[in-house]
């Protein structure tokens, strides 16, 4: 089992504690609050992913074969979701990021937030993360 799926399993377990939707959202809000706010210098137009309702900023670095993502959002719930994605995908190899289908999201009940019909920008963020991984892979091969 690769590391993304392992982290995914942990996340599934964490979310499975919550029977109530309010508890789940409370946890997302907590995650959102605890995600380190990225430096003002990363909050640029070029790092911006415009969901229709909430904004997401995403930056990526490459270090020792791994991609490191930093991200932020102006909405807390989006930020909570962003932190889950960062936890799974940051500090992984480009190949793992490109190949992984994030199937763990199905079992967390968070999947709906990532539908193309949502207006929070998260699906575009995942696309963007994969593009970054692709770019780093090509550059370093």
């Amino acid at each position: 089992m690769n590391t993304i799926d392992k982290i995914g399993d942990q996340i599934i377990e964490e979310f499975s504690q919550f029977e109530d939707w309010m508890d789940k959202y409370n946890y997302l809000i907590e995650l959102g609050k605890s995600l380190p706010i990225i430096d003002e210098k990363f909050r640029t137009e070029s790092n911006l992913i415009n969901g229709c309702q909430s904004k997401v900023w995403l930056s990526a670095d490459y270090n020792d074969g791994k991609v490191i993502f930093k991200a932020d959002s102006d909405a807390i719930i989006t930020k909570g979701l962003v932190s889950v994605l960062i936890r799974a995908l940051s500090n992984q190899s480009p190949d793992e990021i490109i190949m992984n289908e994030l199937s763990f999201l199905d079992q967390t009940g968070l999947k709906a937030h990532l539908s193309p019909t949502r207006s929070n920008g998260l699906l575009s963020m995942i696309k963007q993360m994969k593009l970054y991984a692709m770019a780093f892979k090509i550059k370093n091969s």
Binding site: W21, M22, Y25, N26, I29, C52, Q53, S54, K55, D74, A75, I76, I77, T78, S119, N120
Partner: protein, 409 residues
């Protein structure tokens, strides 16, 4: 108020969707400015049309086609009467307000707008009343000028005289703002524009469902609205235009219905209103709109206004009791649209959670980004009321807001 409530319960019984549960809770639908729900009589009109009358119209010699054509043209007359147009040939059926405005912006600009001319809109317009004019301006070399607003959420007409220049070809403003609910002083705008011979288009998408509109009394030159925001089906709308202007506009869509004769060398266009109705019309949509108007008239426009005003005042009072609520409009004249923010909570966060309490409100920029930029906010939370809403639904909204606040503490 008690008398009102029994009235409202009677009205609610006409709307089957109001009995729906979402997340196991009874649906509280407060997103009426986006689209209203439909009374059974409108739904039945569609079923019955397709079960007994459906046919393509205007050119048929057979029974169903003649029946359907006559029903369609009778609906046009009813709709003309509803807005007090002087003739039913001033009623053009479109797909909705957006198409109405695009039709007008395209044809009007081709007839009357040239390079260097100006089009005047307001800072509080819906994108549908901005982008078509931008596109028309781009094609013709004109510029789009803007009537500004103040911090109360009202248009400021102080400089209107200087905004209406000798280059201004048309003024396009909303009757009511969709984001804030402000009723604009269109009478004054129309009067001042007409003093300089400038025609005025009014976007009535957020007005027509709330109070009586009399286009002849307003003396506006064009008026548009959408069926789906006034208890009618989706996919149908209206562009009203004074005959003297419509007659001067070039054709828009080409196709069946809009022509008299077609040769490869030349094509002769049909008379009003058919000239602007190319292709098979949405007969079921038109009959649905007719039924919705009938429903509104039977309910009574005065009563609709009264019910909504009462509930609006109730909502303002109740919401005002909640700590940290900030209303984004303090306009003197308003419909029952309430745009607000809760402390520093992002509207998207608030909307996502309020939804889980079974309350449907809308959050975001409401397709009015220039307005949001002016207010320097990413969006608002908007509750918009209709005739079937009741005080207990406002209470549920307030409860949801209080719980959401707690979640963010």
């Amino acid at each position: 108020m008690n008398h009102m409530i029994s009235d409202i319960e009677k009205i609610r019984a006409d709307f089957p969707i109001l009995a729906t549960n979402v997340y196991g809770k009874p649906l509280v639908y407060l997103d009426n400015a986006a689209t209203t729900q439909k009374p059974q009589v409108v739904i039945d009109t569609l079923s019955s049309y397709y079960s007994t009358m459906n046919a393509n119209i205007h050119r048929g010699t057979h029974y169903l086609s003649i029946e359907a054509t006559e029903a369609y043209e009778a609906a046009r007359r009813n709709i003309a009467a509803f807005i007090k147009a002087s003739s039913s040939s001033e009623i053009i059926f479109t797909r909705g307000t957006t198409e109405s405005i695009n039709l007008l912006a395209d044809t009007f600009s081709r007839a009357f707008i040239k390079s260097g001319d100006e089009i005047l809109v307001s800072e509080m317009e819906h994108h549908s009343n901005i982008v078509p004019w931008q596109l028309a301006a781009e094609k013709s070399g004109a510029t789009v000028k803007v009537i500004p607003m103040n911090d109360l959420g009202e248009l400021v007409l102080d400089n209107l005289d200087s905004l209406l220049t000798t280059k201004t070809r048309i003024v396009a403003v909303a009757h009511v703002s969709n984001a804030l609910g402000t009723i604009h002083p269109i009478e004054e705008i129309i009067r001042k524009a007409h003093e300089k011979g400038i025609p005025v288009f009014i976007d009535g998408a957020q007005a027509i469902q709330h109070f009586s509109v009399d286009v002849q009394q307003l003396d506006c030159d064009f008026y548009a609205f959408s069926g789906h925001k006034m208890y009618a089906p989706m996919g149908i709308g209206v562009l009203y235009g004074k005959e003297k202007y419509l007659n001067q506009l070039p054709p828009y869509h080409g196709g069946g219905e809009m022509i008299k004769t077609v040769f490869f060398e030349k094509t002769i266009y049909n008379d009003l209103p058919f000239r602007f109705e190319a292709g098979t019309p949405n007969v079921s949509g038109v009959l649905g709109l007719d039924a919705a108007i009938q429903y509104m008239l039977e309910t009574g426009m005065d009563k609709i206004e009264k019910i909504e005003e009462n509930l609006y005042l109730y909502a303002l009072a109740k919401l005002g009791e909640i700590d940290g609520i900030r209303f984004l409009s303090r306009a003197a004249h308003k419909t029952s649209v309430i745009s607000f923010l809760i402390g520093t909570i992002h509207p998207y966060d608030a909307g996502t959670l309020i939804d889980h309490f079974g309350v449907a409100i809308r959050t975001g920029h409401h397709c009015a980004q220039p307005l949001m930029d002016r207010l320097k906010i990413p969006g608002t939370i908007r509750a918009s009321l209709a005739i079937y809403n009741k005080p207990s639904e406002i209470d549920m909204l307030c409860e949801a807001i209080i719980k959401v606040k707690q979640m963010f503490l």
